[in-house]
C-alpha cells in the first residue's frame, strides 16, 4: 500500500514533531510511506479568505506532488476537507479527482482503511479531546451533537486503545475553538474569546493535555494557554497514538 504523507505547511514549519509522529505511526502499522518533497500547502488559507481563484498554482503543485498514490494521508482534518471539497486542476482534472477521493485524515485512515484494532501506545495522562469542526462536521470523524444520529468517534476509538490514558470531555463536546483560519486575526476578539472558553472547560476537567486532530486549533489554544501561564499543554493525537511513555 503506497501512502503519500501530506504534511500541512504550518505543521512542516512549526510543529515538525506532529509530522514525525504521523510518519512513524504509519510505518509502525506497516504502511509504505512516501513524503513528496515539493509539497507546500493545500490552498485553504487563500480559499477560506475568498481567494480560491488565487490558489491555482498551489493546487497544481499539490496535484503534481500527490498523484499516483493509493492513499494520501495528513494529520489535519481541516486541510484534508479542503482538498476533498475544493482541489481543482484544469490541466489534470482526473488526477485532481483521484486525489479528492483518496485523501484521508489520519484517524479515519487508521480506523476505516487500516482498520486498526490495537496500538502499542502508552500515555499516562489526563487528556481532553478537542473535536475540530472540519474533521468532525466536514469529514464526519465523529457524530455531532446537533444531529440525531447514532453516536461514534473515530479519534476516541483510537485513543481508547492507548494504555493508561484518561480521556475527558469538555461540557460542550463539539464547540468550535475559534481558530477559523484568518478569522483568528480578522475577528481577533471573538476568536480569542472562543478559545478561552474552550480552555476553561478543559481546565475544569483538570486535564494535563488538550489533544485533537488539527494542529491549527491546538496552536490557537496553545497560544492562549501559554499567555495564561497554564500548566495544560497541547499535543496532536498522532503524538499520543505514537507515544510509548
Amino acid at each position: 500500500m503506497q501512502v503519500a504523507l501530506f504534511i500541512p505547511c504550518y505543521i512542516d514549519q512549526f510543529y515538525p514533531q506532529v509530522g514525525i509522529a504521523t510518519l512513524q505511526l504509519l510505518e509502525k502499522l506497516g504502511c509504505d510511506v512516501s513524503f513528496p518533497l515539493e509539497q507546500t500547502c493545500c490552498g485553504q488559507p487563500m480559499a477560506n479568505s475568498g481567494f480560491a481563484s488565487l490558489s491555482k498554482g498551489c493546487d497544481a503543485n499539490f496535484v503534481e506532488n500527490f498523484s499516483g498514490f493509493d492513499y494520501i494521508v495528513a494529520p489535519s482534518g481541516s486541510c484534508v476537507l479542503h482538498v476533498k471539497e475544493h482541489l481543482q486542476d484544469a490541466a489534470h482534472p482526473e488526477k485532481a479527482a483521484n486525489i479528492r477521493k483518496n485523501v484521508y485524515e489520519l484517524t479515519e485512515f487508521l480506523t476505516d482503511v487500516l482498520k486498526v484494532e490495537k496500538l502499542q501506545a502508552r500515555f499516562p495522562f489526563k487528556v481532553g479531546l478537542h473535536n475540530s469542526c472540519h474533521g468532525q462536521r466536514g469529514l464526519h470523524l465523529s457524530s455531532m451533537t446537533e444531529t440525531m444520529t447514532p453516536s461514534f468517534s473515530k479519534p476516541e476509538q483510537l485513543l481508547n486503545m492507548v494504555t493508561d490514558i484518561r480521556l475527558s470531555k469538555p461540557k460542550r463536546n463539539d464547540e468550535c475553538c475559534g481558530f477559523g483560519g484568518t478569522f483568528c486575526v480578522f475577528e481577533e476578539a471573538v476568536s480569542v474569546k472562543m478559545g478561552k472558553d474552550r480552555v476553561a472547560e478543559h481546565d475544569d476537567n483538570e486535564v494535563d493535555y488538550i489533544s485533537g486532530g488539527d494542529t491549527s486549533c491546538l496552536m490557537h489554544l496553545e497560544g492562549i494557554l501559554k499567555r495564561q501561564g497554564s500548566k495544560i499543554k497541547t499535543i496532536h493525537i498522532a503524538e499520543i497514538l505514537n507515544s510509548s511513555l
Binding site: 479568505s49 481567494f51 481563484s53 484568518t182 499567555r227
Partner: protein
Amino acid sequence: MKISHAALAEKFIADEPRTDWHDDTLWFVREKRDKAAHGLPEWEQLREWGSQIKDHTLSNLSNYLKEFEEKAKANGIIVHWAGDGDEHNKIIHTIIQKHKIQKIVKSKSMLTEECHLNDYLQEKGIEVVDTDLGERIVQFRKEAPSHIVLPAIHLKREDVSETFHEHLQTEKGNNDPQYLTEAARQHLRDKFVQSELAITGVNFAVAETGGFVVCTNEGNADMGAHTAAVHIACMGFEKIIPKAEHLAVFLRLLARSATGQPITTYSSHFHKPRPGQEMHLVIVDNGRSKQLGREDFRNSLKCIRCAACFNTCPVYRRSGGHSYQTAVAGPIGSILSPNLDMKANADLPFASTLCGSCTNVCPVKINIHEQLWKWRQVIVAEGYADSTKTIGMKTMAYLFSKPSLYRFAGKMGRRMMKAFPFMTNNKFNVWYKQREMPKPPKESFREWYLKNGKINRK
C-alpha cells in the same frame, strides 16, 4: 463607512461577564432544541422533508404564488405586491391614510424590520406599537431587535426594569420578570383593545387554500388581528408552501428548532376576514427574486426564521445580534444580507469560523456554512475585499506555488522569530495581542525527513 462586525464584536466582548451570560443563555436554548429534537426518532427525516418541500416550492414558485393569490382573493383577502421595501411601506401607508387610522399595533415581523417600516411611518407622524414583549422593550429603548426570535436577548432584567420604570412607571429596581411582564400585559392589552389596525408577519402561506399561518407564544398577533378593523399581513414571497398538510412538517420543526418547545402556544390559520373586517396581504420581493437566481445562494430562501443557527453559532453568541447591523443577524443573516447590499455587508460572511454547526441545526437543511464560503469568493471577486488582505493573499498564493521559495521563506521566518522575537511579539501582530506565538523549531519536518526519513535509510 459602516463599523465592522469585528469592531462591534470586540466592543461587545469587552464586558466579559455579560458576554458569558449571553453565550450561556443562548447555548441553553440550543440545548433545549437538542432535547426536543431527540424526542422524535424521525427528526432527521423531518428535516429532509422540510428541505425537499421547500426545494420543490422554490422550483415552482411562480405558479404557487399565482395559485395562492387566486385562492386568497376568493377568500376575501386583498392582495398587494411590493417590489422592494419602499413599495411595501407605501402600500401600508396608503391603507392607513385611507382609513384615517391612528392606533396601530404590530406583532413580530422580520420583514417589516427588513423594510424599516416603523421608521418610515414615524417620519409620516404615525406611531406603531410593537406588541411582542421583546420587541416592545427594544422599541422603548430605540434599539433594533438583536435576535429574530428573542429580540431583547442582549438585555438583562435590570435593563428591562429601568426601561419599564421610565416608560410604564413600574417600581424602580423591581427586576422580577413576572412583575415586568404583567406590567407589559396591562399596558399592551390597553393598546390592543383600542387598536384600529393590526400588522402581522406570516410564517407560512398555503397555496392550496389561500390562507396564512402566524405563530406566537404570547398571543399578540391574535390579540391585534382579531380586534382591529383592518389587518395587514406582510410576507416575503418565499413563505409559500404548497399544501395544508405540509404545515404539519413545518410546525413540527419550527418551535422545536427555535426554542425547544413542541409547538408555539398559538398557531393561527387565517383564511378570511371576519365580518366587517378588511384583511390585506402584502407579498414582498425586496431582492428575493435576485437571490432565487443565484444558484449557489437560492436555497437560503428556504429559511423559516427559527433562529436555531443563531443559537448554535459560537460567533453570534459571543458578538451579539447588533454587531451584524442587519434585520436578520447570525449565520443566516450573513448569507441573506450580502444579496441586499454586498458592499455594506461584505464583512459578514467572514464573521464565521465555518464550523458548520449552523448547517447541522437548520430544520430545512440550508447549507449555511458552505454559502458563507461561497459568498467570500463572490465578495472578493466583486472587489469588496480590503487591499492589504488582497496583497497578503497574493503573496501567500505565490509562495505556495513555488516550493523552494516557500521553504526559503519558512526558514527565514523561523530564524527571524528565533533571533528577533520582537519582530512578531509586538502590538502590530494581532495574534500576539492575547496569544503567544508558537515556538519556532530548529528544523522543519522536511529538513528532519531529509536526514531521518526513508530516503536516507535506504
